[in-house]
Symmetry: C2
Subunit: 238 residues, 2 copies
């Protein structure tokens, strides 16, 4: 069998979170002529670190670099080996040549989640897919293989890390109000939070810098904008 430029048996999948319209969303790809939906993923080059491969794929799909990215689990069940699905995808793309046969072999998948600013992204399909779009977490299509399980575990891990590392601001633009940040937390945790308590907790961390006020044009007091200093976050994460 011909050797490909990629390491065999190893794939990665990424759950790319965004926030828009008060809702948590993720990027989902749809493959050509198959009706199959999947997480954005890819493979490692032989001379490339795993994390670099994932960042490379993330850049291709979103155009973004320097993204908040976290590995959370590696899926390796035999049950996820379904060569007929990949065969369907290849056939639909008329990529049935020998040089793609390695894709039909068994893979384990290292799963990552990313937090990005929704407004920064123009999702880009890859060669095999005809769309890469945002879907609300509660309106996901049926995902192929074990990708629904991967999404569930991503959300679970994000929730745990949210209280531990307080990373919600990575889903927002550089300047945001505390109410916006609270909406992010509520969307992730799927519960209402108390305003006073939330603000005390977040500001108590000393990670946010108060900036000028934000005048929305609405008939009420203008909130302050805040920015988030990455270098403090990196200190805090340790």
């Amino acid at each position: 069998m011909k050797e490909s430029a990629f390491l065999r048996h190893i794939a990665y999948d990424s759950v790319i979170f965004g926030f828009s319209g008060e809702r948590l969303k993720i990027l989902i790809m749809k493959y050509h002529n198959t009706g199959l939906f999947a997480l954005p993923g890819g493979f490692m080059q032989r001379d490339e670190s795993l994390n670099d491969a994932v960042r490379r794929g993330l850049k291709e799909r979103t155009g973004l670099e320097n993204i908040y990215l976290e590995q959370f689990y590696t899926f390796g069940d035999v049950a996820r080996y379904k060569p007929e699905i990949m065969q369907t995808i290849l056939e639909a793309n008329e990529h049935n040549s020998e040089s793609y046969q390695w894709l039909l072999d068994r893979f384990i998948s290292v799963a990552y989640y990313a937090l990005i600013n929704y407004n920064d992204v123009v999702p880009m399909p890859d060669a095999l897919s005809d769309s890469c779009d945002w879907y609300s977490m509660d309106e996901l299509p049926n995902l192929m293989l074990d990708h629904a399980e991967i999404v569930a575990k991503a959300l679970q891990t994000l929730r745990e890390n949210l209280e531990k590392k307080l990373v919600g601001m990575n889903l927002l633009p550089p300047l945001f109000t505390l109410t916006e940040l609270q909406r992010v937390y509520e969307a992730i945790l799927d519960e209402k939070l108390h305003r006073g308590t939330f603000q005390r907790k977040i500001l108590g961390l000393g990670l946010l810098q108060r900036q000028e006020k934000y005048f929305s044009g609405k008939a009420h007091k203008a909130p302050y904008l805040y920015s988030f200093e990455d270098y403090k976050m990196s200190l805090w994460q340790c």
Copy 2:
């Protein structure tokens, strides 16, 4: 190149924690005639789930089944690709035939940690190693490749999960006193805990069942023994 029975490029390593003499310890292997120390690890068979492969290896090394086991990270840097080290090990074992050449290729490693009852184990070396022994966490030998990093991350993850899932009892025999359990927590967290607070917290979880008293022969009040019901733990973990 000949195909082996194992998936190429994929390995696993396990950080097997035990508790003895008030100290947290892990199992380390020493390879024949090389002075190289490493974590116990192995490879996946082509028709085997990742978790099953790790449990298989764990059984071979410790004789134990039904172990508390948790995957915590997958290491995939290019920097960990050092074929000359594996070459050294193979040469020292006179295993230089072609059927071992696949071991010289690049690997990513899925890392797990396990919590076991020290007294239940008779550590078993594998074919390439002449010992598999307990080492205190603060007296580890120099480990090959990135295994020191793997151990560090295992301990970090264990500490985080300790407060979240309270799994310390997996390091003890079926019957134990609260003071013994407290020593386990102190060894893992590397800090003293307050006795009253610790007991209130642990017992408040309702996971432990009080059993008969334990008469040590010492000149003081006899403590109660406790047992830990696995099925409650599984409920609690969710």
